[in-house]
Assembly symmetry: C2
Amino acid sequence: MAELLKGKPVADAILARCANQAEKLKEEHIIPVLAILRVGENEADISYEKGAGKRCAQAGVEVRNVILPADVSQEEFDETLQKLNEDDSVHGILMFRPLPRHLNSEKARNMIAPEKDVDGCTDGSLAGVFTNTRTGFAPCTAQAAVEILDYYGIEIKGKNVTVIGRSLVVGKPLALLLMNRNATVTVCHTRTKDVPAACQNADIVVAATGKMETVGAEYFHEGQTVIDVGISWNEEKGKLCGDVIFDEAEPIVRAITPVPGGVGSVTTSVLVSHVVEAAMRKAGF
Amino acid sequence: MAELLKGKPVADAILARCANQAEKLKEEHIIPVLAILRVGENEADISYEKGAGKRCAQAGVEVRNVILPADVSQEEFDETLQKLNEDDSVHGILMFRPLPRHLNSEKARNMIAPEKDVDGCTDGSLAGVFTNTRTGFAPCTAQAAVEILDYYGIEIKGKNVTVIGRSLVVGKPLALLLMNRNATVTVCHTRTKDVPAACQNADIVVAATGKMETVGAEYFHEGQTVIDVGISWNEEKGKLCGDVIFDEAEPIVRAITPVPGGVGSVTTSVLVSHVVEAAMRKAGF
């Protein structure tokens, strides 16, 4: 029976830390503010918006919802984003992507001021992860994986970590975050010849393939920690599933994150912590 | 007897390609120009400057040497760099670092316009390597390693590559370049528990430890390719040596770069190719 690395206590601990910091900021008459910029009425965006709003409230972070119509012009969109950049009372900007097709998503991504890029999507933030400096912020899901390891006292330094997946939002930034924390990191992907062998070499396996229930028994051995970043709806089973075949991995390994209730439930709290951190940096803490 | 992966033919091939492209640019009345910004009279800088000048001449690239006194003020330095950024006739800027202590090296690094950052030192260039897009340029030494593999027809895609070293100029960017080329990459460093084991797993080993002659027989097996990025002066032997113990590795592996005459001799040509590429991009090729 593996230890279940649930996300909720991790998220709660992060939010408690944030609430503490927000209290300190309040003494300086500063309230951390997250602006959420949404174009159109995408259901998933609205649902994420609600979740983020709740988490922000828990931590004393104010949310400002900025909603533009789905057919907004590039000019008006640019103007709105630029205003948020320039607004001194806004500490973090979350912009839902992809934007509608008629807008330039790539340009918008890099328009966000790096110091407000709490979602870790700009080139500045990625360079910060690369150089291990405090430029911008790490992508939230990648950092959530690290927060879980830290919360449960799973050592990263000196450990072999295999990351399956090389996306810009999880695989690559997570590999660098773990490298910066002194792990020996191997990144596998669709062109890797023997992914199970690479995972067998690892103390910690991170599955971020985006392919539901594809990482099974042959990837694991006793004593490993498994972080499952995947989350997909399994039509057949009528429930959410991860990239790992949980029922195969769980009896073998030492510890594993559940899906749902694992990495995904920590991501929003990391976002909130970035807003508070942005406000702290700005105030010179 | 391993195949010797000499740098000279690789460098020559790159320069021949550059000369061809420079010819095409000439038809459009464009001459690629590299500005070399040096502060003070550091011997190593001057020697590199000479080498780069020779390579540039071979490829039809013009060099503009900008030399500032060692005690130049921050203001004058900033102004000089800004002028080079704004000068439409300059396509690439090479700035020697570290700068004298009284100047802000970190600020200067990111002051260079990304499209002129032929040395791959700005956050923009690092983000470009990260996102696998044409923002800025890859650090030259990292790219030189890839050029050698390509020139000698050593497949990267699907291969296991172990990089020893995680520096900002070699280890990390090279790991990303190889990942972008579909290699399965492991990055080792001083905190890695068993570097020889990680290398034994690899088809290609890149040594970029910065520690002379420390990578010996136990790291290698038959059939491997070894890229030695290190170059240090061995006082005892009175010659330049790499990070790999050449006499131990060479009888075992399939192919290996010599030191000197390996990676180091390709780096300047990569720099030149970036200047030509910068001019091509600007001209819309």
